[in-house]
Amino acid sequence: MTDRVAQLVDELHGLCRDVGRRIQVMEVCGTHTVAIFRTGIRSLLPANLRLVSGPGCPVCVTAQRHIDAALELAGRPGVILATYGDMLRVPGRSGSLERLRATGAQVQVVNSARTALDLARANPQSPVVFLGVGFETTAPATAATVLEADRDGVENFSVLMCHKLVVPAMQALLDAGDVPLDGFLAPGHVSVIIGAQAYQPIVAKHRRPVVVAGFEPEQIMRGLLALVRQVAEGRAAVENVYPGVVTADGNRVALELLRRVFVVADAPWRELGVIPQSGLELAAVYRRFDALQRFELALGEDEGHPLCRCGEVITGKAEPSECPAFATACDPLNPIGPCMVSSEGTCAAWYKYNRVQGPGAQRVPEGQR
């Protein structure tokens, strides 16, 4: 396998040399960001191929107003807030769920919406609010759980809906037009659900190649190679180098679940503002499971930290090292922005894999600038 990867690396270097100019591609998803660092692929890339991280880490794009709402709900007497573990440390205006838990709030880590529903069944006297975060990967599970809660009449269960859609965010980035991008490396796991064809509008409207790839080193290298080949040939198409796993049309059952339980709505993204038709809300028949409605809570506004540049980081406008707070005021112990909290956040990945030990010291391996 190593030989095959080495061969792909050689091929990529050759292609990038032929293109000559700088090529900038965005890996949309945090899982790709981390895999590219963890496997050392980043250190093997040609100097003129620049990878920028995109808005594909669900923790990083969750709006502060949603975290604030979660904190508010978890602080109410009797309420159990069930959340995926990596949301624990995300800072809201008044702290994080982890800190709130330390003061006695009932914040429970769960690995699925289903576990949150089990918690609701086991504690019928307590309202259980599930923090519904994630893209099309986790949204179908939330949908199935809402259906189950509806069927079984688990009325103490509700969801704080923060689910988001990947493609509208990619489109919003290109519409804004302030980051030069030659193409996208699209995430395998989201694509399993939505299907490779879901990226067709990006190709049609913006003429940028989109390549769907898996997360193994060889799969990532194949994805990058396919992207650069399209750039070299002046083509723009949706290409799937993860066949057998990702199909053109996606997972019909999961998509049907989403259609049945949710409606597409405008949604706030951390540091990006409201992106039209980029989020999911509960459809009218299931609205009674909406935590905001159940607890008569309105979302507030996001209040960005003056130093934090997470918004620029997740749109590829800035690298973490360009943020004045990176590894100085903001680190994984005291994260200011969500990109430093999530294990798949760009800043956390840079901090962990691309920084010399010692305060503020950094090293960027050759070929990455």
């Binding site: 800072p91 994080s96 838990r101 690995n111 918690l119 994984p332």
Partner: protein, 348 residues
């Protein structure tokens, strides 16, 4: 110029303070060491070495709060014996006796207690130590939701006799030394996680929890030039390698393809978004050995059931600045850092 508003500081203990990472390091450095300051404590070794008539006495203590109490491959009792024995053994000591402090929560089924105490007895026999003193307290059941009950906590202290002529310490680490590990990593942490409430997944993973004093006895008996030993518990081997790098001011280079890791563990770690290098072990020891003696030590390891999967995983280099670097399977390089606290499984 506006003042830099730092991220939110901590004015209370959060779970990550106990994660064996950088956050715990700060807690110890800032809140525990200053008021208690003395030379032996400040060394922050696995055990304290005290002068004693006719040699040296090695003394350590550790507490165990794992949930669930029983997990694939072990339980809190076996963990308590192995953990304390290993802290003595990696100092070069032969463990002699343990204390056992039990904090029991009301409602704990006696059948569970019996199983755990039997496991303590079994692990102590395996390690050749005796539990010679103990204490029992009962606390009220934790308030809150039904599953907040924790059942039982254990504290063990242990004493051991320092072997004569054994000189272990980070100051002896030199450029060229080999870095060895006695078998596949990350299995304890992943096995416990696989049955932990809220994370559970199907897996054949089993904790590697085991007393390592027999293995370490075999290693030291070779007469090889062993420079440093440390059991890679919380923080994983990444934490130990960071300790070696920081204290010796030497770089550490690890070759990913040589680090023993089962396919099951690799997949489980991938699924949870965890770096296996940072996942806890309870029966794995990192050894720094003079390069010329590495094979001899590996042979001794492989002759013991707890070292059958031993491997040389890297070396000490003079690269500057001092860093722990990993040469990845595909030939890339990256930095390895101490995890900063409890590593959280990711969402998607």
């Amino acid at each position: 110029m506006t003042a830099v508003k730092p991220g939110l500081g901590h004015d209370r203990i959060v779970i990550a303070h106990g994660g064996g990472g950088e956050l715990m390091g700060r807690l110890i450095r800032e809140h525990l060491l200053p008021p208690l300051r003395n030379e032996r404590l400040a060394a922050l070794t696995d055990s304290a070495v005290l002068p004693w008539p006719d040699g040296e006495l090695v003394f350590t203590t550790d507490s165990y709060v794992v949930t669930p109490l029983e997990f694939p491959g072990g339980d809190i009792g076996r963990l308590a014996v192995a953990g304390t024995v290993n802290d003595l053994a990696v100092m070069g000591a032969e463990p002699v006796a343990l204390s056992l402090g039990l904090i029991l929560e009301e409602g704990l089924p006696l059948a569970v207690l019996d199983r755990i105490v039997a496991s303590i007895a079994g692990a102590a026999r395996e390690a050749g130590v005796e539990v010679v003193t103990g204490d029992t307290k009962v606390i009220e059941r934790g308030a809150g939701t039904a599953d907040s009950s924790r059942g039982l906590f254990i504290n063990t202290a242990g004493v051991g006799r320092m072997r004569r002529g054994v000189q272990l310490g980070l100051r002896r680490v030199a450029v060229g030394d080999a870095i060895l590990v006695n078998g596949p990593i990350a299995e304890h942490g992943l096995a416990v996680m696989s049955v932990r409430s809220g994370i559970e997944f199907e897996s054949t993973l089993r904790s590697d929890v085991a007393p390592l004093n027999g293995l370490i006895r075999d290693i030291l008996a070779t007469g090889a030039d062993v420079k440093f030993l440390r059991d890679a518990t919380r923080g994983g081997i990444a934490g130990v390698l960071a300790d070696i790098c920081e204290a010796s001011q030497r770089s550490v280079e690890i070759v990913e393809a040589q680090v023993p890791l089962s396919t099951t563990a690799r997949h489980a770690a991938e699924m949870l978004g965890l770096d296996p290098l940072t996942v806890a072990n309870e029966g794995k020891c990192i050894m720094v050995v003079a390069a010329g003696d590495a094979e001899r030590v590996l042979a001794a390891c492989r002759g013991n059931p707890l070292g059958r999967g031993a491997a040389s995983i890297g070396r000490i280099t003079d690269a500057a600045p001092p860093l722990v670097e990993l040469i990845t399977r595909v030939g890339g390089r990256r930095v390895v850092q101490r995890p900063y606290g409890e590593e959280l499984p990711r969402i998607c």
